[in-house]
């Protein structure tokens, strides 16, 4: 694969409510990403917007941010899925050799909708929607399934939440930086057993933009491009009952592909930092298993051991992850932005020392049906 480097990033501060419009959010991160890259909008020759009609409450939702992202000036398309898929589309535009510098922008004003109703719409109209399934109670079905099979405890899941909210204190963009204990998590309001409030990501408004360029341009225009070394995406079956909810084979396959491209045969040794999509506390455990950081069923021990803490062997979610800020559609792109900061050495008080290779991950659909994995390198 030719080398494509990320040369500009920007995120808004994530918050329960941001009064800015979709266009204003998109504009803010577009302008700041351009500043970060030392470019102007005229330098961008193609864009990818990431907008979802349901979350935005409009058909052709990408129209709301066309002008704000300069997408009216150049070839553009809109990916409706997590931001990582948008980044992949931008990457493909560049690898084709037809375009030189891509801008990818994702935004979300989750505050304007009723998340349960919007996520209920992911489910089968005939067989599942009528049951009142949404992102939370479907995740609860998965969490219990996973815990039940491997004997993972609620405490171990809670430890993920404790870690990530604490990490978020060092992240100026995070929505929920907090000092909490395992006990706080266990005592928090039960939403759908075994998922409790503090096992759950918040509802956040926010936006993120990244700018990527082909190698020659990246090197010419920026002091520290962060290279995309590998990428993979993959999806599991749709109906919850068709899947084995205790595992994520689609993530394993996506990671395998990304690892192969990046020359990673020992993820634990070769990856220095990982930002994974922990929409719920238990998900971080499931995802690190499928990413090959440990054997299936053993992620509980891993989190107990402290391996994924900031001072551990492989810090996971130094930014606080999705548990600390969840702008839907944006969060995967934010994972990429955070890894870029890490590899640039610009992550300030959430910096993982000497990070050279990082993993960024996004999910799509219920209970992590689809996955997209990026391997980035300094």
């Amino acid at each position: 694969m030719d080398r494509v480097g990320i040369i500009g990033i920007a995120q808004t501060k994530y918050a329960r409510y941001n009064p800015a419009s979709h266009a204003e959010l998109a504009y803010e991160v577009t302008v700041r990403a351009l500043e970060d890259a030392g470019l102007t909008i005229e330098d961008i020759d193609n864009t990818v917007t990431v907008c979802n009609d349901f979350w935005d409450g409009r058909t052709i939702s990408c129209m709301t941010i066309t002008e704000a992202t300069g997408s009216h000036r150049v070839p553009t398309t809109n990916v409706e899925g997590d931001g990582t898929y948008g980044a992949l589309m931008g990457l493909m535009h560049l690898l084709s050799g037809i375009h030189e510098i891509a801008l990818v922008v994702a935004q979300s004003k989750v505050s304007e909708g009723i998340p349960s109703v919007i996520t209920n719409a992911m489910f089968d109209p005939v067989y599942e929607r009528v049951l009142g399934l949404d992102a939370i109670n479907s995740a609860a079905l998965q969490m219990r399934s996973y815990m039940s099979k491997y004997g993972i405890s609620e405490e171990q899941c809670a430890r993920v939440s404790v870690k990530n909210h604490k990490n978020a204190k060092a992240n100026p963009y995070a929505h929920l930086p907090m000092d909490i204990t395992v006990d706080d998590v266990l005592k928090s309001r039960v939403l759908a057993d075994p998922i409790k409030l503090l096992d759950t990501s918040p509802i956040s408004d926010g936006a993120c933009a990244i700018i990527m360029a082909r190698e020659r341009t990246a090197k010419k225009r920026h002091a520290r491009p962060i290279w995309i070394r590998g990428v993979g995406h993959c999806t599991d079956l749709y109906h919850l009952g068709d899947r084995d909810l205790t595992e994520a084979p689609a993530l394993a396959l996506a990671a395998k592909k990304a690892y192969k491209m990046a020359g990673i045969h020992n993820p634990l040794k070769q990856i220095d930092v990982a930002e994974v999509y922990d929409a719920f506390s238990y998900m971080e455990l499931m995802w690190i298993e499928s990413l090959g950081f440990c054997e299936p069923g053993h992620a509980g021990e891993i989190v107990d051991s402290g391996m994924t803490e900031m001072n551990g062997a492989l810090p996971v979610n130094p930014s606080g992850g999705v548990l600390a800020a969840h702008a839907v559609q944006v969060a995967g792109l934010a994972r990429i932005a955070e890894v870029v900061l890490q590899l640039r050495g610009e992550a300030a008080s959430r910096q993982v020392e000497g990070a050279r290779v990082g993993l960024a991950h996004g999910i799509e659909g219920a209970c992590g049906q689809g996955h997209c994995v990026f391997i980035l390198e300094k």
């Binding site: 979802n52 058909t59 052709i60 129209m63 690898l95 084709s96 719409a121 005939v126 599991d236």
Partner: protein, 388 residues
């Protein structure tokens, strides 16, 4: 070094106003199976899938995830692209980029829509700004009507000119396209007598709402050459989403985004004389009026020359540059698929597989996509990897 990408298979459903006997996934699977059969491949040969539709019509969130049983995406990479009316052409271009990037060799692109499940106009109206535009928006038809009024006023085009486009496309569908939704033989008088929907657009000037799906398989050069002796090479692509607000586009007699996208695609393809270099065109003409006023944006005639071009018969089957042998959008409009059908039909032409719709000796084909807000995508396809 740019990689060559070819289309190796096309499949579509028999389009209807309401596919009561199958659900969305089944609709998709029919198109997918037919495309695979056309290319003599199985789903195992597919490396990645791109899917698109317009959400509000079926009310399914994360439709790519939902589609798995029908799209064959189990344990495969799939992503969703949606850009409104241009979705079909946007996914076609996305499929092209999947292969052109070198990351995937054989990519299945699926466009589909079950328009029968929704109130199309109401759904489309939600694309406009809730504060400044939505109250007076009139779905897709209003803006198109306003545009032709501007064109008629500036260049002396008439409703009869538009009627000729409608007659051409409907009759092509009736005579040559067994998959088309509307297959009626009509004449200018029929069109002129049909009731006005939004002056000057009448019922027979306007595209229908259709349930349907289309699947197109893109492949890398090496794979494409192994799969078929006659891939349809994609030699030019262009996209332009130049307008965002209704008021910016209404009252313009032309379509700036189409001109812009065509310029990109023609430059890539090496086309500098489109009228003579293109053998057949599958154009996204959502209302017959557009079939008069948008031709110059494609460089097919001089400014204001739409009426002359249409009245000459050049764009009819048997003419020098047949447009819409399939019947186009006026005959079939499953929105998420419509733009992809143009690419698929254009591909079948240069592959020599268009059967009754075949334009003899077609070597270079043009396909366009259109959607709100006055956006355009253009694709140039050829039976050889480059124009001679």
């Amino acid at each position: 070094m740019k990689r060559l990408v070819g289309i190796v298979g096309v499949g579509q459903t028999h389009h209807k106003s309401r596919n009561a006997d199958c659900n969305g996934q089944e609709l998709i699977s029919i198109a997918v199976k037919r495309a695979l059969e056309d290319a003599e491949l199985t789903i195992a040969d597919i490396d990645a899938i791109v899917i698109g539709n317009m959400d509000h019509f079926e009310s399914i969130n994360c439709a790519d995830m939902w589609s798995v049983d029908g799209s064959g995406s189990y344990m495969k990479p799939i992503m969703k692209v949606t850009t409104g009316g241009t979705t079909g052409s946007a996914i076609g271009h996305a499929g092209f980029y999947h292969v052109a990037s070198g990351l995937f060799d054989t990519v299945l692109v699926i466009g589909w829509e079950q328009n029968s499940e929704s109130d199309t106009t109401a759904a489309i109206s939600t694309c406009f700004d809730p504060i400044t535009e939505r109250e007076y928006s009139a779905g897709a038809i209003g803006p198109l009507a306003a545009q032709y009024i501007a064109y008629m006023s500036k260049y002396g085009a008439t409703e009869e000119d538009a009627a000729l486009v409608s007659v051409r496309d409907h009759n092509n569908a009736a005579l040559y396209n067994p998959y088309a939704h509307l297959r009626q033989i009509i004449n200018v008088e029929d069109v002129m007598k049909s009731p006005y929907i939004s002056y000057p657009i009448k019922l027979l000037d306007m595209c229908p709402r259709t349930d349907g799906a289309c699947a197109v398989i893109f492949a890398s050069e090496k794979k494409a050459k192994r799969i078929t002796k006659t891939p349809a090479w994609i030699i030019g692509v262009g996209d332009c989403h130049i307008l965002v607000h209704l008021a910016d586009g209404i009252g313009l007699p032309n379509l700036p985004s189409l001109e812009n996208a065509a310029r990109q695609a023609y430059r890539m393809a090496g086309i500098n004389d489109p009228f003579n270099q293109i053998d057949v065109a599958e154009l996204y003409i959502p209302a017959s009026t557009a079939g008069v006023s948008w031709m110059e944006a494609l460089g097919l005639c001089e400014e204001g020359g739409g009426p002359r071009l249409i009245r000459s018969g050049i764009t009819n089957m048997g003419g020098k540059l047949p447009i819409n042998p399939s019947g186009g959008v006026l005959a079939t409009n499953p929105i998420g698929a419509t733009g992809l059908l143009r690419i698929g039909e254009a591909a079948l032409q240069v592959m020599g597989k268009a059967e009754k719709k075949q334009v003899e000796g077609a070597k270079v084909a043009l396909a366009t996509g259109f959607g709100g807000c006055f956006w355009s995508d253009v694709t140039v396809l050829s039976s050889s990897p480059s124009l001679e």
